[in-house]
Symmetry: C2
Subunit: 329 residues, 2 copies
């Protein structure tokens, strides 16, 4: 038997262990065109919190008491499709479990990029790196010379944003919680850091960016978004990527500086990674190059064992990760 | 002596008459290249409230105890510039006064558009109509078939938005306060109305737009903006034009549905009319045509006499106007 995490009820606010159960399940027989995959790496990502609610959004809600889904990298162990053979490493959405049987059409062989570990396809070469890349360069139209502010800069997406922005000749201010994470953000090349645990964001941001900012990459919403509105200069562009501050609460967001959207002619653009699947070639080329030269470095926080998937996921909301949070099987 | 309104102190919240004074002043001698203009029509606009604060914005703050400024249409009564002669009707920024002496370079002769009254250049052919035109068609990229929601739809900008949207084949839902104004919005061609004084905006909007909205033209901010976020569908576009709800208060805006920017990939764009001065030719052509065919009608609320300028201005914040608020001298 394989094992998979099930969502047993819709969380109310911050999820608790009782909302979930790890259950045995039978992945099923290997029909025509089907492939059996043993997962090696599972991704946990903040957006998954949204799928736990029963609301229409960009991905459908998780069904109750059924194996959950999520990004995963695994190894083909049995194949009934001519396109896959045992030993192939594949990227797919059958995560939150140790084994899956899936149609060959739902699997992607890892692109042959030299010197890259398989788990990078869940991080800098996958959802989080791609989110950083397309959000910064397309949704925010960031360009050389821009002053960029990014929240959750020690996280998976944020740390990629910092490094991509530096690789493209921008000035970067990153926000993170606590001295260790701020040191990490500096080590990625950030020109200045804001420690949101050390005091109000706006005061620190205004000091770090006395001329204002051109771009804000929003991973958190709330106070960070308001501070960015306050210091954005004319024609500023915001990529609205995530609002982890509010995923778990029913409280509205309070914005004091929202009218500056008008005065400064700001543009705020929401986006998600899958909007850009047609442009993955550009992304693999650029990100592959940066990883090869070391201009972008991967740092993962690795939790081991399927039993601890939930710890890894919940840790996303308490700042337990630096860089990409991964589960190793 | 001429007379002009002075701002005597910075208003705290909603302006009160004691913040202002109507004073005699000497417009000065007619130097080389200068023109003397007797004002016939003065514009009062919500954006002027922003200029009463001592903060950096898209227009500089009003100086204290000096003649205030604003859009005006006047008649040249004396000219020391070869480009202007007595009798010429001009559009200029020397409003809030009955007479001004200004450099010829700061005056614009009214474009020769047949059948148009001079005061239209303060309304549908001026700041407010242009704001509606460029905001709807450029900032929000609205196109035929879109479902458009516009707040303050009985106001100067909003009533132009309703009519332009209908002229371009869109479905329009307009919000206004009270049955009379809602009737007026319907008479402009709106497909549905929301009476914000009759109940929560979101509930009414969701009923009026069961399929959601593609475009929101925001004149007010606050509850209307939040309702628009709640019902916007994928790739929705918001033109952020004004936030009259918060111009006079220091309270932050509370948004419950802001994370839908991500889920629905919304784009919010702030803009102001003067961003588009290079494209006035398109605007005069289209709006002139619509006025000629009656597809866009002008409705003004006219207050008479310089002494009542302040009543007209303050009336903007209490809903005293239907259509464009003008002062006639």
């Amino acid at each position: 038997m394989a094992r998979a995490w099930h969502l047993m009820r819709r969380p109310n606010g911050m999820p608790v262990p009782e909302d979930f159960a790890l259950k045995d399940f039978d992945p099923g027989a290997l029909g025509d065109g089907m492939v059996r995959v043993a997962n090696r790496w599972l991704s946990v990502d903040p957006y998954m919190r949204g799928r736990m609610n029963d609301v229409k959004s960009y991905v459908p809600p998780f069904a109750l008491d059924a194996p959950m889904e999520g990004g995963a990298v695994g190894e083909v162990i049995e194949s009934n499709d001519p396109g896959f053979a045992p030993g192939d490493m594949v990227l797919h959405m059958g995560g939150w479990r140790d084994e899956t049987v899936a149609p060959a059409t739902s699997l992607n062989k890892l692109p042959p990029i030299p010197g890259v570990e398989p788990q990078a396809f869940l991080g800098n070469l996958g959802l989080t790196g791609g989110t950083a890349y397309f959000g910064l360069l397309d949704a925010a139209s960031a360009r050389e010379g821009d002053i960029v502010f990014v929240s959750a800069a020690a996280g998976a997406v944020g740390s990629a944003v910092v490094q991509i922005a530096k690789a493209r000749g921008m000035t970067v201010i990153g926000s993170a919680g606590g001295a260790d994470k701020c040191d990490f953000v500096r080590s990625l090349g950030a020109d200045a850091v804001v420690d949101y645990k050390a005091g109000p964001v706006l005061k620190q941001l205004a000091e770090a960016a006395p001329k204002g900012i051109d771009v804000y990459f929003d991973n958190v919403g709330g106070e960070h978004l308001d501070a960015a509105l306050a210091v954005a200069r004319k024609d500023g562009r915001f990529a609205i990527c995530g609002m982890i501050d509010i995923y778990n609460e029913a409280q509205p967001t309070s914005l004091r500086y929202i009218a500056r959207i008008i005065a400064m002619r700001l543009r705020l653009k929401g986006f998600i990674y899958t909007d850009y699947l047609g442009q993955l070639g550009d992304f693999y080329r650029d990100m592959g190059g940066w990883l090869a030269t070391g201009q972008v470095k991967s740092r993962d926080t690795v939790v081991e064992g399927l039993d601890h998937t939930l710890d890894a996921f919940l840790g996303l909301f308490t700042g337990a990760n630096t860089g990409k949070m991964l589960l190793k099987l």
